[in-house]
């Protein structure tokens, strides 16, 4: 295919609404807020899996935290009728992602697996994607981070260590998906089975609040729970069509 043909074809593809119906896999996640206890196991799991740097107290004091998945907290009411809500926020891998349109070098785009790709080695650090993202889940490398020896021996060889001036964010643990695909191929070119691949956060969640899978597979856990009556999307009114769906918390006393 000549460049022009390819350009035209992909243009057509990306012009049609809901083009992601043609996804090979459409990875998605549901988060059950009624199960989530805010224990932050997912946060550390993510840190360990994805070589997320230890930014240090000074940087944190300047608001330069790095958590691909973070847990936001929202108080309601006053003492004694007070309650706290937790909500884990990670890259929503929106099917209509604002960040993808703005990157001048296409360092972030949507791939055939329904993933919102962040390409570290293409990023030039305009940081516009972070501004455009309404979920605030993109984190920027303000420095070249270093690990006090021998902490660097923990780094995951399947994930690159980002250099300064690069944007980074949750990848749905693409290295694990890659691995699973690899196994599936060896196993007679089959597709990935449901539950065969789990991001670090889903894998470790002690209350099993997080479910991950292929939205295209009607039988998968995630498709089922996406059709739960409690399902909703954070900031759904912006119509960014996130791949991450939340299940409402249940207020037993709200009736």
């Amino acid at each position: 295919m000549s460049f022009m043909e390819r350009f035209v074809s992909s243009w057509r593809k990306f012009r049609t609404p809901g083009y992601y119906d043609e996804f090979d896999y459409a990875w998605g996640m549901t988060i059950d807020l009624d199960r989530c206890t805010g224990c932050k196991a997912c946060v550390t799991a993510c840190q360990a899996e994805n070589n997320i740097p230890i930014v240090g107290e000074k940087a944190l004091a300047r608001g330069r935290e790095m958590q691909w998945i973070r847990i936001e907290r929202y108080w309601e009411g006053e003492y004694p009728n007070v309650r706290l809500r937790f909500i884990p926020l990670l890259c929503q891998h929106c099917d209509a992602a604002p960040c993808e349109t703005v990157c001048p070098v296409s360092a972030t785009y949507h791939n055939q697996d329904g993933l919102n790709v962040q390409l570290y080695n293409r990023c030039i650090g305009t940081r516009s994607c972070a501004v455009y993202c309404p979920y605030e889940v993109r984190y920027f490398n303000y420095y070249d981070h270093h690990w006090d020896a021998p902490l660097e021996q923990q780094l995951n060889p399947d994930v690159t260590v980002r250099e300064k001036g690069v944007m980074e964010k949750c990848t749905f643990c693409v290295q694990r998906i890659r691995q699973a695909k690899d196994h599936a191929k060896d196993d007679g070119q089959r597709r990935i089975k449901d539950g065969e691949v789990q991001p670090a956060c889903v894998q470790t969640c002690p209350t099993e609040a997080l479910v991950f899978g292929d939205r295209n597979d009607p039988e998968s856990e995630v498709s089922k729970s996406m059709h739960d009556p409690r399902a909703y999307r954070v900031l759904g009114e912006l119509n960014t069509l996130p791949s991450v769906v939340y299940l409402k918390k249940v207020d037993a006393d709200a009736g």
């Binding site: 196991a41 840190q47 930014v55 937790f86 995951n156 498709s223 954070v234 037993a252």
Partner: protein, 758 residues
């Protein structure tokens, strides 16, 4: 064109030369740096480059004893995950467990045996060999009086515990102490009083429909948080129609309080009274129909709703409602612990909570309290646990010069005991202090000899989780990486000492691995394993990382009449006068650092506290109204003073805490333990009063009154969060109890998620 003269020519040559040089260097600078391919002289069996190998082991970060499986690449541990086949955590793991890697790779580890060459605490350690280190300690042990040898270990189980027993037994010393700050002494005492058992029952949260928790932060750090979380999740949404209801009774909202459907603030120390109030209602309301009902009625007579309401500050109607809901729940479960047990009346409180279970008929059935079989093998878990009384005796004996040698194993009493215990002075009086710790923590800094032990990821060991899960479980902890430094497993150090002292008859093993295999032969001979020979069995256990046998207890429990008769909870006593010290200090184990052992892990330091999103430092939580009265704002540095000292911490205005209580997380405030922990925050344990729960002798950690005074300075803690109010933006949505669909369906987006035929 003008012809080139000589000067011109020279210029040209110069220009050309410079250009060429520049070009050359440019090309040179663009070259890739040299990298090497280092082959193994002999390739190891287990792994090959580029392919991950997984080892199953046991988590050593807290006493819960979860099973872990560690991912290694090229012989280096890369990631810790839960072991799916381990019944306690079933593949899940908490944040602290994940951070175990940073214990292994911590830059501040002790890399070799050390001898203190200055005065104690001068940190003038000089490296030595194992040979010298061991023999010098062995000499002292040989010359010391038998009763003068003390061994203070962290709470260990399985064969390491047994090994310590044997070792100390051979040395003829009774003074083997396990010390964990968070060990639930009162809970053990309460259980043995009511049920006559010295090990904990299994609280079946998974199948319960109604959980009544008296101060137990069961989702965060009480007993076995990960297992409880699994149960919680399942009880909430895993059961189809019926959704478990969770009620949390505590003065300061904990993680479990957040997760609960109802948070009931009760005055500190009155949880037991409240429990008896519920019991009174149950008995009076004839929801209980046992034949000993009259005894109960008599015993519970004084705990009328009004009196209990008056004492606990919980409205009478709430008490009535809770009692009826609890009695009506099929099945229900009441658990008590944490702060509720850390009062002068702690044991009575927990007895009362168990009584509640008994009266509601939750004993010995799914969704209630299930009894564990006794430990399969290894040393006794609880009886060696040193309560505060024992630790204080240790200090006094030391001052009386009765201690010749103190061996400390991976526990840090100088941090986890109040300053009032006088332990630091006591250590001064001990001629030889040996530490087996992997880090220079506060206690190790005071040692004369450091014989650094492996981290749990480098050493052999085994564990029988306490509390069990209703049936016998054992797990092997195997080295997942070859040791990073010149350290040794605790067991091997003990065996080494034994060898030097000629105790080989009693401790015949050459290494901890032998000792384990020997022990596990017995387990193999229990016959529940269907493998043919021991080696196969051993291999299986190593592969799966866990062993269990499906023998459950079915014995019914009868409670002695005398126990029923003297059931009752006294008013809690506090140290300090109310008018001088208006607040009750409520210290709690922080999510990230547990009892302070997590403070040297950068991941844990950078893990925002779930409720406050504060990192790197400690804070004190104050109710908005009382803060308003004192004119305090977020970030004001205040001085918290008890009768036994004072600390400083910034204020955090916290909506979910009782007005006369101030809460502080435990974990920060180290003055040792390496670069990440040192000189950061304050340690509330330091100022606790040395009063104990009368019946168990354990420290009444929540029974200290304090005064809070502004210092005029500000020290706003570092937070990752912004404004934690929704401002009507409907970010975290919730639905009514019956979870009916109300139009907010993920499918109802402008572009529906179509489904591709697979």
């Amino acid at each position: 064109m003008s012809k080139v003269d000589r000067r011109e020519f020279l210029k040209l040559v110069g220009a050309g030369g410079v250009g060429a040089g520049a070009g050359f260097m440019l090309a040179e600078s663009l070259k890739h740096p040299t990298e090497f391919l280092i082959p193994y002289p002999v390739p190891p069996e287990e792994f090959s480059p580029g392919i991950a190998t997984w080892y199953n082991s046991v988590c050593g970060m807290c006493p819960a004893g979860c099973g872990i499986s560690v991912r290694t690449r090229e012989g280096r541990a890369k990631k810790i995950e839960g072991n799916p086949s381990h019944p306690v955590n079933q593949g899940r793991l908490c944040a602290l467990g994940q951070a175990g890697l940073q214990v292994l790779y911590n830059p501040d580890r002790v890399t070799a045996p050390m001898l203190q060459h200055g005065d104690r605490g001068s940190d003038a350690f000089i490296q030595t060999t194992w040979e010298d280190g061991l023999s010098s300690v062995a000499e002292h042990l040989a010359t010391a009086r038998d009763s003068g040898i003390y061994f203070l270990s962290q709470g260990v189980r399985g064969h390491l515990a047994m090994l310590l027993e044997l070792f100390m037994g051979e040395l003829g010393s009774e003074h083997l102490l396990h010390h964990d700050f968070a060990h639930p002494h009162s809970l053990y005492a309460a259980n043995s009083r009511l049920f006559g058992e010295d090990h904990l029952p299994y609280y079946d949260i998974r199948n319960t429909r109604y959980l009544l928790s008296f101060g137990a932060d069961y989702l965060n750090n009480w007993l076995s948080p990960v297992h409880h979380s699994l149960g919680f999740g399942h009880s909430r949404q895993g059961n189809g129609a019926t959704r478990g209801r969770f009620v949390q009774i505590e003065p300061k909202m904990s993680i479990s309080g957040v997760a609960a459907d109802e948070w009931v603030p009760a005055r500190p120390g009155t949880e037991g009274i409240l429990a008896l109030g519920l019991a009174h209602r149950i008995v009076a309301g004839s929801a209980y129909a046992g034949d000993d009902v009259d005894d109960w009625a008599a015993a519970l007579a004084p705990y009328t709703a009004d009196r209990v309401a008056e004492q606990s500050g919980v409205p009478a109607e709430t008490i009535a409602r809770l009692a009826d809901e609890f009695a009506g729940a099929e099945p229900g479960l009441a658990i008590g612990g944490g702060a509720a047990g850390d009062h002068t009346n702690g044991v009575d409180t927990l007895v009362a909570v168990n009584a509640l279970n008994y009266l509601a008929g939750n004993i010995g059935k799914p969704g209630g309290v299930v009894f564990n079989p006794g430990p399969v093998t290894g040393g006794p878990a609880n009886k060696r646990q040193a309560n505060y009384q024992a630790m204080q005796d240790l200090a006094e004996n030391a001052l009386r010069g009765e201690i010749d040698v103190l061996i400390v194993n991976n526990t840090n009493p100088l941090f986890t005991l109040p300053r009032a215990a006088g332990l630091s002075e006591a250590l001064e009086a001990i001629p030889l202090v040996v530490s087996l710790s992997s880090f220079v923590d506060e206690t190790t800094a005071m040692a004369d000899v450091i014989l650094p032990s492996h981290t749990y990821l480098e050493s052999w060991g085994d564990d029988m989780p306490q509390p069990g899960v209703g049936f016998s479980v054992g797990a092997i902890s195997q080295p997942v990486v070859s040791p990073l430094y010149n350290t040794r497993a605790t067991g091997d150090i003990i065996l080494g000492l034994a060898g030097k002292l000629g105790l080989n008859q009693a401790l015949p093993w050459t290494s901890m691995e032998d000792c384990l295999k020997d022990g596990w032969r017995q387990i193999f001979t229990r016959g529940s394993a269907e493998t043919e020979n021991f080696d196969a069995f051993w291999r299986d256990v190593l592969v799966s990382g866990v062993w269990g046998e499906n023998r459950r207890r079915t014995d019914a429990i009868v409670i002695d009449k005398r126990v029923i008769d003297d059931i009752g909870v006294a008013e809690p006593e506090f140290s300090g006068e109310r008018d001088e010290y208006p607040f009750i200090l409520h210290p709690y184990l922080s999510t990230a650092m547990y009892d302070g052992r997590g403070a040297n892990l950068p991941w844990m330091q950078e893990l925002p506290d779930p409720m406050s999103s504060i990192v790197y430092g400690s804070w004190v939580e104050i109710n908005p109204t009382s803060a308003g009265e004192m004119g305090l704002e977020d970030g004001d540095l205040v001085r918290i003073t008890s009768e036994h000292g004072s600390i400083e911490a910034p204020v955090l205005i916290f909506p979910a805490i009782m007005p006369d209580v101030v809460a502080m997380p435990i974990g920060q405030g180290h003055d040792a333990l390496g670069r990440y922990a040192r000189n950061r925050g304050a340690n509330p344990i330091q100022i606790l009063a040395p009063i104990t729960a009368s019946a168990s002798g354990s420290l009444a950690a929540s029974a200290t009154r304090v005064s809070v005074s502004a210092t005029g300075r500000r020290a706003a803690p570092v937070k990752t969060g912004g404004v934690s109010r929704q401002l009507g933006r409907d970010i975290v949505r919730s639905t009514g109890g019956d979870a009916t669909p109300d139009g907010h369906d993920a499918r109802l987006n402008s572009i529906p998620i179509k489904v591709k035929s697979v």
